[in-house]
Every structure is written in C-alpha cells, then in structure tokens.
Amino acid sequence: MIETKQLTKIFKIKKSPDVPAVVDLTLSVAEGEVFGFLGPNGAGKTTTVRMLTSLIGPTSGAAWVNGFKVGEKDQDIRRSVGILTESPGLYERLSAVKNLAIYANLYDVEQVDRQVEKYLRMLGLWSRRDDPVGSFSKGMRQKLAIARALLHEPKLLFLDEPTSGLDPEAARLVRSFVQELSEQGRTIFLCTHNLNEADRLCDRIGIFKSRLIEIDTPENLRKKLFGRKVVFHLREINPRWIDSIKAFAGVENVQPVDEKLVVSMDNPQVLNPQIIRMLVESGADVQFVGELRHSLEEIYLQTMRETEQEGQA
C-alpha cells in the first residue's frame, strides 16, 4: 500500500539554513494495516503525509502509494487516497452538506447526495447539515473533515492528528470511528502525539524524528526496550527465592521491590507456571501475578532519550 525508499524532504528557505524535515525514510505499510506515525512537534510527520499524498514533492528518494509512484502518478494517488489534513480547512460560510458536496464532486463520486448523507449520519452531523460550518465546534469540524476524507471510499486513509484538540469524549468517538474504518479493511496511516491512541489503534508504530528511529508492533517495541517483566506479589520475601528464580533458564534479572519480585524474562508463558510452582513448593504465599506493562509513553520517552544521547555522542 505504501512503500518508501530513502524518502527525503529538505526545505530550502532563502537566507536561512535548510530544514531537513524528513531524511532517508524507508518503510512499508501493508494493506489493512493501521500504521501509527509517532513523533514530537516538528518531527516531519505532516511533511511525510504531504509527500505521500502528492501535495509536495520529495527532495530525493522515492515512494509508491497504492502502487503509484509519487511524482509520476500524482493524479492517481490523489484519486485513490483520503486525507484528513492537519487543519480541517473547511469553507466556513458554507453548510456542512455544501462542503461535502463540493468535495464529492471533485472526487468524482457518483452518488453525491447518498455519500454525503451516509457520512453526515455516520458522524452524527446530520441534524446540523444545513448550518454554516463557521458555527461548528472544533470537534464537529474535525468530524466533518473526516467525513470529507471518506466520501470517495478510499482504501488508504491518511489521518494527521485526528484527535488533537478534542475533548476526551469526542476523541474517543473519533478513535472508535477509526477502529471501525480499520475493521472495514481500510489501510490507515495515523499521525499522532497521543501515545495511548497509537497503542490502542495501531498494528505497528514508527517512532520518527526527521529519521525513523524505531518501527515495530507496540508489543515488540516494549520488549525491545524493556524486555518483558512479570511481577510476583508475595506475602513476604525470602532472599533465597531470588536466587532460585535466577536459576531458571530464560530469566534475565530479578529485582525485589517491597513485597514484590520483578522478574525480567523472555517467555513468561512457559516460565511463569514453573516459577509459581517453585515458589509455592518453597512455602511462599503468592498473592498476585501480573505482567508489568510499560505504557507506550515510557517507550516513546525512552526512545527519544536514547536518540538524543546518540546524537550527543
């Protein structure tokens, strides 16, 4: 669906140093995937989306979107993808229906009225369809802009921060809508700062800051950065058990924290039952066992920290 090879965009501004917004980006996004593009402000996320939707041309490198090469088949690319731009850019003086109808026509949608109604209803804007968009709240505008991106039923959708600036309720609504779109089999390229959102929605995540730093499933990113950790809550800890646990093949580290033992290991599915049996047989009172999950936020911050250190080194 998306394929990039050393995609690079350098903004040249008169009388100031060049801005390398995107450098050597190589990635591929498969059909049906929800790909999360994660990065701080100014990382080049929007710039990447603009290149992949043929809005701006790359400085060097190449990209293929839906099989069409960026820079050569721009018209085909524009026709076949949907985009939620960073700012909704709606026509404020015109009604919601009118806004969508304009785009339906520009995308050569066959049944304009039907598609417009379908998406206005789906996003809960039908009752406000004739109001000028200028009177809409930020969340409503965002929903309308999402509807606009879907009118021509694109298989590939670019969403540039779909929930930024929305209240938790509206954000959840948008998220579940994105989920729904993904279940319909659409491929989604999602730019976001919201790490929970990325964690919940995305099959794979690319952590990006001008360059691609990490790319993997959220699960693997966790493992890669922190390994997997299991916490054993015991009534009290006997120091001997620590050594016993360390003796298991596959256990990397055991750390006592209060009445807990935090065990880093490769495959908890196999090791947990063995460790629990050993602990029970040694007379430990096992109260709870659970996996210690790092939030994506920790992963993200850790990655950024490491990148910075590398940069300084």
């Binding site: 701006i56 524009r78 960073e86 850019g89 003086r93 304009i102 050569d108």
Partner: protein, 266 residues
C-alpha cells in the same frame, strides 16, 4: 473536467455572494458608473440649450474627426464627454473580478482550505479555470447589464439620435463586448497569480488593481488631446489585451505550482 470547473465556480459563488463587500462592489460600482455619465450627458445637453453660443471651436480640435459631418457643436460636445465615460465602463470588468479573485487563493491559503482542495484529483488548469471564471463572469455580466441600462436610459434624458448612434457604434460595442471581457480575464489572472504569491488579500487586490493604469492612461491621453478613442485605437487596445491574456493564462498555469503555494509563506 467541466464538472470540476463547475464545482469550483459554484463553490466560489456560494462563498463570494455571502461577502457583503463583494456584493457592494458588484452592485454599486456599476450603478455609479452608469448614473454618472447619464447625469453628465443630461447636464451637458441642458447647458448647451441655454447658451446656444457653443461652437465647434469649444470642442478639442482632435476630436472633431469623431463627430460626423453636420453634427451640431453641442452634440459633438456630448460625444466628447461621453467618450471619457466609456473608459469608466471598461473599468468595471477590471475592478470587480480583482476584488473577487484576490480573495480566491489568498483566502483559501489563510483558512487552510487550499490543502484539502489540492489533495483532490483536480488539475491545476481546472482549478485556475474555475477560479478565473467565477471572478470574471459576474464582472462581464454586470458590465454588460450596466451598459444595457445606460443605453436604455439614453432616450429618457433626451439625447439626440446622432449621439445615441455614436454610443451604439462599433467603438463602444467593441469596448464593452470584446475589450471588457478580455480585460476581465487579464485582471483575474493577474489577481490569482499575485494572490498565490502573497498572504494578504488586500495586497493582492491592490497590486492587481494596477491593471486599471492602461485604462487611465487612455483616459488622460484623450483628455490631454493626445489621442482620440476611435475604432482603430480600440482595435489596437483589444489586440494588445488579447496578447496579454494569452501570456497571462500560459504564465498562470505554468507558474502556479501547487507545492510552492502550499509551502511558501512569504
């Protein structure tokens, strides 16, 4: 292709006609430009009657060639006066579209609506054609309507047949029906071109309004007696405008770069 252009035109009109400033320009300017010459003609006619002493000597010598044989001095004077106003009529198709077009690209830039628009499969030509037509058509139609009103009102203020015949002559008709639309096209393209380079609609408007300079040039040249606007002058003017139009449309579509417009903020 036509569908895309029509969509853009419809969109522009839906927006533009909600803008009071534009509506005001669209209605009042042509009205003023129609009433003014009518009033002048009326008072020139009246004044002449009272002091019948006006002779052909009062009319600039260069202008006598325009007045037909056997035309009275006051008729000739009226024609001289009204000829200045012809140039006002020609300003209608310049000023109106500039107001509309100046907002068309800059406006979309400032509201960020240009980005989703450029992300659609619309071609640059379709976009420019739609925006140009949306700005030029109302101006051309209003210009013609104003001229129609003017012609219709002429008998009411009692101009002579000779004067009427002069106004409904090839020079005027060419000016209104050919030069006007050509100027509108040039004005619109200039406004769009400029508005894609600047970020403030007012600047775009002001720079594009420079296009009335050639008209003012003609006006002053005539007032100063350097030239007389007749069919020949009008034809040359039209020729020049046509060339300018071709150049502008070509320049517009080649220079209008989607990326630059989206990313350059200067």
């Amino acid at each position: 292709m036509m569908k895309h252009i029509k969509t853009i035109v419809g969109k522009e009109w839906a927006e533009v006609f909600k803008n009071r400033m534009v509506l005001f320009t669209l209605i009042f300017m042509p009205l003023i430009f129609t009433i003014l010459p009518l009033a002048m003609l009326y008072f020139t006619g009246q004044g002449m009657d009272e002091m019948a002493s006006v002779t052909t000597a009062d009319v600039p010598a260069e202008f006598l060639s325009v007045c037909g044989e056997g035309m009275g001095a006051n008729e000739c004077m009226q024609i001289y006066v009204v000829n200045q106003f012809l140039l006002l009529f020609m300003m209608i198709p310049v000023i109106i579209p500039v107001t509309i077009a100046a907002y068309s690209v800059v406006g979309e830039k400032t509201t960020h609506s240009l980005e989703p628009l450029l992300a659609t499969p619309i071609t640059t030509f379709e976009l420019l054609a739609g925006k140009s037509l949306a700005a030029a058509l109302p101006a051309i139609i209003v210009g013609w309507a104003a001229f129609g009103l003017f012609l219709g009102a002429l008998p009411l203020i009692g101009v002579t047949r000779a004067v009427f015949a002069y106004i409904a002559s090839p020079t005027w008709l060419l000016a209104i029906f050919v030069a006007g639309p050509l100027m509108a096209i040039a004005a619109v393209n200039l406004a769009i071109f400029i508005s894609s380079r600047v970020n403030d609609p007012r600047t775009a408007e002001q720079i594009s309004a420079l296009l009335i300079i050639p008209i003012l040039g003609l006006l002053f040249a005539q007032l100063a007696g350097v030239i007389v606007i007749n069919v020949m002058v009008m034809m040359s003017f039209i020729g020049g405008m046509a060339l300018l139009d071709v150049g502008m449309v070509y320049l517009g579509t080649t220079i209008f770069q989607r990326e630059t417009i989206l990313t350059r903020w200067k």
